[in-house]
């Protein structure tokens, strides 16, 4: 018997290290955000003011609430607001970091841990934001939801998908001059299929359709997420090296 660790043990140690690093970086992101509360409050204000602008401009046309297309507009408008809010929220995730601080992270943690912790933090941020946004939106725009639980679940799925896609794209955009145009150009083709699926899912939930109707769409959405996370994990180690 030797004391050398077997391959399985080595893999286990590596996985534990990755998990610990991710967890530490994740806590660091939350602490930083908690101190300034800048990203959260900023985006929350952004969402609330957008909802309010929509509310005022749509109320210029009296009788819209009772018209036939109102629920469809309600649903689509919510997702468009969420789309722009999340672009704004997540575009910051790599811009905020100064070059020297990034260098420090890379010397103490693996690149996978960095992208995973950023993604996890963005998921948390977006989940909180979308719940609040949904509440505010529901207050201003009255609408009955056929299946509130599934609508909520779709909103959660949406915030996860937005976070995974935008985190990777913002990492790419931050390397390439860091402008907002590039972020939008790069991310919109990727996010369009996601948002189409989300609108379909939430429409089903709003109409209170049978839950089994949505399963295949949910599976595709999760599959897209898995693809994006897998490619991000594979590609990010090449991206950060300068």
């Amino acid at each position: 018997m030797t004391n050398d660790p077997t391959n399985e043990q080595k893999n286990y140690i590596c996985a534990m290290q990755l998990f610990n690093q991710t967890w530490d970086l994740f806590k660091k992101e939350i602490v930083l955000e908690w101190r300034s509360k800048y990203a959260f409050n900023g985006v929350l204000l952004y969402v609330v003011s957008t909802v309010f602008i929509c509310y005022i401009s749509l109320n210029l046309n009296p009788g819209l609430n009772s018209s036939k297309g109102y629920p469809i507009v309600w649903n689509v408008l919510f997702w468009i607001i969420m789309l722009f809010a999340s672009v704004n929220a997540i575009a910051k995730s790599f811009m905020q970091e100064s070059k020297s601080r990034l260098l420090y992270y890379y010397s103490i943690a693996s690149p996978q841990a960095i992208i995973l912790s950023k993604t996890a933090y963005n998921i948390l941020l977006m989940a909180l934001l979308s719940v609040l946004a949904l509440l505010v939106y529901k207050v201003f725009f009255a609408n009955t939801l056929g299946d509130p639980l599934y609508y909520f679940l779709t909103v959660m799925l949406g915030s996860i998908s937005f976070s995974t896609v935008f985190t990777m794209i913002s990492a790419i955009a931050s390397k390439a001059g860091n402008n907002g145009t590039l972020m939008a150009i790069l991310s919109f083709p990727v996010i369009i299929p996601v948002i189409l699926l989300l609108i379909k899912l939430s429409k089903n939930a709003m109409d209170g359709l049978e839950r089994s109707v949505s399963y295949s769409n949910m599976a595709v959405l999760l599959a897209i997420n898995v693809i994006v996370i897998a490619t991000a994990l594979l590609l990010f180690p090449f991206l950060w090296r300068d």
């Binding site: 402008n179 790069l186 897209i224």
Partner: protein, 224 residues
Amino acid sequence: MKFIYQTWWKVLAVLLLLYTLIAGFLLGVPRLPILHETIRNVYFHVPMWMAMFAVFTISVIYSIKYLNTGKEKYDLIAVECVNTGTFFYVLGLITGMMWAKYTWGEYWSNDPKQNSAAIAFLLYCAYAVLRNSIDEEQKRAKISAIYNIFAFPIMVVLIMVLPRMTDSLHPGNGGNPAFGKLDMDNHMRMVFYPACIGWCFIALWIATLRYRIRLIEYKNNEIN
């Protein structure tokens, strides 16, 4: 790399294309309702996408190779393959739209297959914009390689997976039978498969020519 300087496959490509042009327009096709003679478009529309997939796949392979080795050559191959692929993408869209005009009634009828093809086209336009936005050569090569690898699976999902799950009118999607299963008889296969191979070779040829021009430019600009 010797392969791209050989002649036999270029001759083969030209011969195959001549054959598909003649046989594709002259040989008999099964008479089907609505489709009639437009079924011949399968010899020209589908091979465009095959050629596009072929060069995009090569481009992804060379992007991966670039990330592993950092050789400038591989980046040139990747970018020229994407350029050629985008050209065939446009051709595929146009031939599809012309066919749609005669069978579905409109050039663009808000069909899921058409829409997601248009979205995936934006992906590759974004690739071009991304390349232009970075001045530093190595950084540009690295970041565009990363984006290329990232975009490819999403393009596949958009074109191959999503339209199959919705009710698209496109053959082979949304419960519609593909031509291969029902409508294509063995005569058509004898034209269709050579057409695919021929167009793939043509796309490859264009890409290699463009790559060789770029390589010469690159060597001219080198400081020795």
